[in-house]
Structures are given as structure tokens and as C-alpha cells.
Subunit: 483 residues, 2 copies
């Protein structure tokens, strides 16, 4: 960041944000004054002020009249969320019936969509992309008449390779296959490394889209205990792999950073250990890195693939959360499975639209992406904090939640006995969608939890919707509710 | 056609073409003079001449100086191609190893790609589409920032519904899901109606992409005897379904018109019988209709779906052979399986790029599509005829081939004992690609057959490539060759 003209203040802001998220500065602490900060960091007072304002926008500090800036972040009850304890037996999956109705409802027009997993469209530089796409089409109309290279246009694969290099991950442009978004990349990756009946280890709770994917391919799920800050327990996975039946686990499918729905990010030592486990047990890691670019502050985590000595980590992502959902551009880098992945892609998709690939490659090459990401990351931080605040204000006493350090999803745990499925039904009638927790587990656990989308532009209407949810939650206590 | 201004000559040409393809006019017959035709058809002499010239471009008639036009079509040895007799036991599939290398080679730059299944990019109105795509992007930049309706934009689904209505097939716009091309549509359809281990009935020979798809989903293939003119034998299928084990057949996957590689088109009575069989045995028909718009002459066949009284026919297609391969726009209409199909699409792709959908909807609404198709159909007819002529001139005596009435693929059967896999290897060294026949069967049959792409612009270089193939074919006779 430092070398980038005009973004010095963001580098300072990131540095200060780390002081807060690492706990060196605590809630209520007074932040150095503009002048003090300028002297300490050897920047101009203008830059220091801009950095503090950036922190304010992210919801990390607040200005108090005539007193300066104070750390605002509340260390919500996240530390109290225990590691999950799912059933540790491989389970066949039948979740389709459960999911279909909920997803449809989550996207109903006229509903406040706190249940969807989509980012706010206003975050994205659609004006610039629009211009670049028009230019790409004008310059290469032939892209409409032919498939182009089936694995994707070279300029995009080269731009991706350079982007990964920026955060310490070496991937050859020819290792990428460009796909129709990230779920499509994961579909292709998973189908290339498994056969029906195989066991796949996943986080618990896990994104319901992963469960649907396993069901589609006739795979069994092994849910692994998961920490809401540090993600899948590598220790528990290691034990499961060494236990009888462990050899039937053919792959691990997980979101390595700012996971959906836990918000957890694997520490580097876990990434290293996972890559080593994959080598030891000859299994594939299918890494979903779609939220990796959306850290609220500090460095972008290096993908597990950066620690992969034995070429067993397949990394997948897309621009759908970070740049242009409508472009439907994802990718997979297939490591030792690259040939099989290319063939699966050819079989099930043939190729992806080339014009959009050209436009996005152009955007990445223009140098705008880094600055754009800074804005989106600040938005994520600010919005998650606002929604979390509202949950604290409106929800039943004893409600806990995650403290994600990236992305825009919040996992809320109601006190024991409350039932998020009943809440979902009541909220639906009130035109508010949520994602009930039982969708994130094969066995229907997490009935008292729910996932909220924090990306919606913050308005009184959203606050009112959260108040409604809180009120309805208080009514949704049932004797039969399972935690 | 008749009501369309300026296209009257094409209607006359189509009518005359039918006289030829139906055998009412035979090779060498003299065609009525311009004046005679004008009188007989009550059109102007200009229109009559234009019709004859259209037939000439399609390779159906030839002008002889001072004598007029004569029927040129050779009824090649197609009638002699017997119905195939594949193994009638369900087979697990392991074809990936075989296919990968051949596909890669078929697309090698610098190679004359007679092995690919791609149409000539010059056929397509990329200039008009380019303009419409730029306009769609300019008018709706927000389409880049959001997914839009996950099943596809309403204007495109409505335009598709109207197009199907034009050829006698009623499909509600909401039944469609827009996909990333036709293979993606078939992938989603097949995975929605089968589970791993199920049996799927297919043509024999069948498109190798279908075999890869079955392998991906752990499905078994039941190859059904197939006629090179009338397609899959419904009688044989019916017998297989009623035989022991027939209840394990969950779906039929087939290309209903101008099939790949046979060129066969199911007659209407077979379509009706297939739909009835699906009802009787409660199985799904997954119809690939991608070549349906490419009839060389006469009417566009009605999809099997038009005969589906019990909502068990899923029809899939795309614009990849007829309008814009690079737009990657396909679709599936899911009949009674529509809910499951929507969920599979959501799971594996989420949504398709919206800008291209808008542009193509605009193109369809502009009325240009019908006229464009006339041109492409004429190109297909002309090119298939030219390649067939060259095969007759250059290949070993006794070589037979199909006489497709649509599309641009030709299936060539070398005399017994010739080996198309050896020919493939020799041709590859000579920088000519073909698709060897053993890829079109689970058990590696059709070793003396090959598929040729006739869409390449006809040049001396293509003729020379076919001459090279003929020469190499003569050298590829082996003792071990299986027919």
C-alpha cells in the first residue's frame, strides 16, 4: 500500500486497525490525537486525520466532541462461542428439500434480504467495468463467435497469477481454469477428486451450498469441530483421518478465510498443517477463498495453497463478492489435479464468456483493484459492526454472535431453547429474510442460530427489520428447540 | 417464412429442397426453368432465380451452361449403413483417459481442425451482436453488480418461449433456466433426474461429451441400437425397458435432431413413442436439441418436448451452434423436474451473465434470427456436401458415410479392417485433426469410423487436408482393426 500514491492514509489506518483487532488497544481507549499520530507515524496531519476518519467509517473508533477519537469496537461475546461438536460419523446428505424453500424466500422481492449471501451491488465499480466491457466487445467482436481458449483468456489468467503473487502465492497462469463463478469452480474441483460414496470433510457449521454440492455428487459429509475464530480444527481432522474409516475421506472442502457462516479464518499454522495432512493422507484440499480479499483490516490472508508443498491444494475463488457478481467470473487452480479439472470443465461447461474476461483483466491491469478493495473492506467492517450493534440492542438477552474479521456475514446464536426456523417463518410473514442455522449442518443442528447479511446499505428500515427480528426471536422460544 | 418480406425466395427454395431430399427429384434430373418455376409457383422471375441460386449455394443443384439447373445431390451410400448393434448391457464408463488427449489435439493451433465440433465463427452476426451487447451494458451497468434473476433474465426467457411457439412447442417462460451453454444445461438436467449408479439409455454411437457426463456422475450407459437416418430405435429401447433390469434405466439422453455424430433425426412418430415410453416407465427424457435449428432444408423439427403429455421431457439447447458460441448462453426447460433443476443450477452455477442475455434477447426480438438461420442452414448444407464429395474422391474404395439433413458433422465409415485411431495418430502428425470413432462408444466400438467437421470455410487447403486423410486412411489398415 505504502508506495501507492494517495493511499498512505489507508496504510496507516490498516496499521491502527490491527492495534485494535489484536487487542493492543481496547474498547474505550483514547486514540492518539491527529498531531500525535502525525508525529509518531511521520505523516502529514492531513494523512493522519484521513486515517482516523477511515477507522471511523469502519466502525472501529468514534469521535467524541472536544475529546478526540476513542476505540469503539465492542468485543462482543464471540470468545464465549464454544468450538462446535458435530456428529463425527460420515453422513449421507438429504438437504435439498430443506434448502429450496428457504433460498427462494430469502430472495423474494419486497423482502428485506438479511438472509441472502449477496453483497450490496452499490459497492462495485460498475461504471468503470461497463466502459471496459463495452471496449472489450468493440475491440474483439469475434469473441462472440467462438469459444476462445477453453480454460479462459490468457490476459485474465496472467492477471490472476500476478494478483496471487502480490499476496505470496505462486500460481502459473496455465494452472487456472476460468469458470462461471466460484460455486462452479468448487463443483468442478470436487467432482474431479471424488467419486460417489466418498467422504468429504467439512467445517461445522458449513455453507449450505457445500452440502447441496455433496448431495449432488452422492458424497458423504464428515463434519469437523470448528472454532468461530480459527476455523476447522486441524487436530480433530487429523484424528478423524487416523481413526478407522479415515481412509475413506478423499477431500476436505472449506472456506479458508472469513468463512461462511462462521466468519472464521484459519491461522497460518493451521494452513501449513492442513497442507501437510493432505500430503500424509493423500487427499485433496478444495479451498474456497471467495472472502479472502475482504479482510476488514490488515493483510489479506495467504491461501492454503501458498503452503502446499505436495500440489494437493486446489484453490477456488471468484469476483462475485469483491468486484462484479454479474460478470460470473470464477476460477480454479488445480494443482496435481489440473488435468482432471480441465476435463470436468470441458464436460460440464466447455468455456466461459470471453468478453467479460477481457474487461476484468483490463480492470485488474489498470491498478484500480487494490484501491477498490480498500473501499469494499471498509464497507464490510462498518456494516458488520452496525448490524452487530443492532443485534445487541434488539435481540433476546444472552444472544451471542461472531466477530468476523472479514466479509459481511454475521452468525447469531440465540440463547438455548430459541428456534431460528420458527423465527424464519415469522420473519418471512413480516417480509424479512434470514438464513436459519439448521441449513448449515447435515443433521439439522444449529437450530438456535441464524446467519445475517450485513451488506445492505444501513438505513432506518434495516435497523427496524433487525428490531422486528429481535422481537420475533423473543416469541420463538419453544420447548422443542435444539441448540 | 412466406409472410416475411424479402424471404419469399427462401420459402420457394425450401420447398424445392424438399423435392430433392425426399427423393421426388433425383440426381441428374433437370429442374424447371426460371420462367417455368415463376409460372408454377406464381412468383416473379427474380424470386424464382433467387430460389434456384439459393439451392445452388446449398449444393443441391448445379447450373450447366445453356442447359439450366440440374439436381446435384448424390444419394451417397448412406442407405447401406446398417442399424448399429451395441452391447445391450448397462456399462460403467471409463472414457476420460481416452478422450482428453484427442480433444486437446483436435484444437491444437496450426492444425486443420476437422476433429472439432465447433462451427465456423464467420457464420455469426458478431457485428450486430457486438452493438447490442454494448448497448445492453450501457443501458444496464447494474447487471454487472448483481446476479439478476438466478434462472435468467425475463426478456430472454420470454423470447425463447416465443421462438419455441413458432415451431409448435409450448413452453412457459418460467420453465426455462438460462445456463452456461448446452452441455451445462444437460449436466444440470441429468444430475437432477439421476443418482449415481443409475442407468441412462443413449444412442450408439453417442456424442463422447455425453459419455464423459455419465462418467462424471457415476452413471451407467445402456447403448441402444441406432439408425443413421432415424436415430435411436424406440423399439429396441422399449424392449430393453421391459426386459429384466429395465427398471434401472432412469433417463434417456439423446440428440433428437441432426444428432452428433450420426446426423440422424427422429421422425415424429418416434418422438411421440418416446414420450409415451417415458410416461409408461416413469423415466425422464433429456433432449439435446442443439442442432435443431440447423436443418439444411425444410421445416425445423419439433422437439420431443412438443409431444410430451406427461411432463417428463426436459429439453436443452443453446445458441452455440446457431448464433453466438462465445456468449455461452444455453437453457433447459425442466418439465416436472423444473424445481430440482433450478436447485441444481443454483448449486453448481448460481446464475449466468446477464448482459449477454439482454443482448441476445434484443437480437431475437429484432426479427433477425430467422433470416440469419437461413444463411447458416444454407452454409451447413453446402459445406457438408463439399466435404462428402471430397471424401468420395479421396478415401479408400468402399468408404461409406452419413447423409445428414442438418448440422455440419459427417460420420465416415471406412471399410472393415481400417483403423481410425491409427488414422488419427498419422493425421495428427500431418497437422490434421479428426475425431476417431472409438470415442463415441463406451466399449470402444466404431474403430473404423470417424467424425468430420464440415463447417470450415471451403478452401484448397481443406480439400488438401481431406486428400491427406484419404491417403493416410489407405495406410491405416490393420489386422486388429475392429469395425
Amino acid at each position: 500500500m505504502l508506495q501507492e500514491t494517495g493511499n498512505l492514509y489507508l496504510a496507516v489506518a490498516d496499521d491502527l486497525a490491527r492495534m485494535i483487532t489484536d487487542g493492543r488497544w481496547r474498547t474505550g481507549d483514547r486514540v492518539p490525537s491527529v498531531r500525535g499520530l502525525a508525529t509518531e507515524r511521520r505523516v502529514s496531519p492531513t494523512t493522519a486525520l484521513a486515517a482516523l476518519r477511515a477507522l471511523e467509517r469502519r466502525g472501529l473508533v468514534e469521535a467524541r466532541p472536544k475529546s478526540g477519537y476513542f476505540v469503539r469496537l465492542k468485543l462482543r461475546a464471540t470468545a464465549a462461542l464454544p468450538v462446535t461438536r458435530p456428529s463425527q460419523r460420515p453422513q449421507p446428505i438429504q438437504i435439498q428439500g430443506r434448502v429450496g424453500a428457504v433460498i427462494s424466500a430469502s430472495l423474494e422481492p419486497g423482502t428485506i434480504q438479511l438472509g441472502s449471501g449477496l453483497p450490496d451491488p452499490a459497492w462495485f465499480p460498475t461504471d468503470v467495468l461497463e466502459r471496459m466491457l463495452r471496449q472489450a466487445v468493440r475491440e474483439s467482436p469475434r469473441l462472440l463467435g467462438e469459444y476462445g481458449p477453453l480454460i479462459g483468456l490468457a490476459p485474465l489468467r496472467e492477471a490472476l497469477s500476478r494478483r496471487y503473487a502480490e499476496f505470496g502465492c505462486t500460481i502459473d497462469p496455465d494452472e487456472f481454469v476460468v469458470t462461471n463463478g466460484c460455486m462452479n469452480a468448487l463443483t468442478i474441483a470436487l467432482s474431479a477428486v471424488t467419486r460417489p460414496g466418498d467422504v468429504v470433510a467439512i467445517e461445522s457449521p458449513a455453507y449450505f451450498g457445500f452440502l447441496l454440492l455433496l448431495e449432488t455428487f452422492g458424497l458423504k459429509a464428515l463434519e469437523i469441530p470448528t472454532d468461530f475464530r480459527t476455523g476447522l480444527s486441524v487436530e480433530a481432522l487429523s484424528a478423524a483421518l487416523s481413526a478407522p474409516g479415515g481412509e475413506r475421506v478423499r477431500a476436505v472442502l472449506l472456506t479458508s478465510s472469513h468463512s461462511n457462516p462462521t466468519g472464521a479464518t484459519l491461522p497460518e499454522e493451521s494452513r501449513r498443517a492442513l497442507a501437510a495432512l493432505a500430503q500424509k493422507h493423500d487427499l485433496a484440499i478444495v479451498e474456497d477463498d471467495i472472502y479472502g480479499e475482504l479482510s476488514h483490516a490488515g493483510e489479506r490472508p495467504r491461501p492454503i495453497k501458498a503452503f502446499d508443498a505436495s500440489q494437493r491444494v486446489i484453490t477456488c475463488s471468484s469476483f462475485s463478492k469483491s468486484l462484479a457478481p454479474g460478470a460470473r467470473l470464477g476460477w480454479v487452480a488445480g494443482a496435481r489435479y489440473a488435468d482432471a479439472i480441465r476435463l470436468r470443465h470441458l464436460t460440464t461447461s466447455v468455456a466461459s464468456p470471453a468478453s467479460a474476461q477481457r474487461a476484468v483483466a483490463e480492470y485488474l491491469d489498470s491498478g484500480r483493484y487494490t484501491r477498490h478493495l480498500q473501499r469494499v473492506r471498509a464497507k464490510c467492517a462498518e456494516n458488520v459492526d452496525r448490524v452487530a450493534d443492532a443485534v445487541e440492542r434488539h435481540f433476546p438477552a444472552g444472544t451471542r454472535m461472531t466477530l468476523p474479521k472479514g466479509g459481511f456475514l454475521l452468525w447469531v446464536v440465540l440463547p438455548a431453547g430459541y428456534d431460528s426456523l420458527e423465527l424464519w417463518e415469522r420473519a418471512r410473514a413480516a417480509r424479512v429474510s434470514i438464513m436459519p442455522g439448521h441449513l448449515f449442518s447435515v443433521t439439522g443442528r444449529y437450530r438456535s442460530s441464524l446467519r445475517l447479511n450485513c451488506s445492505l446499505p444501513w438505513t432506518p428500515r434495516v435497523d427496524a427489520a433487525l428490531a422486528t427480528l429481535g422481537r420475533l426471536a423473543k416469541q420463538s422460544m419453544t420447548a422443542g428447540g435444539k441448540s
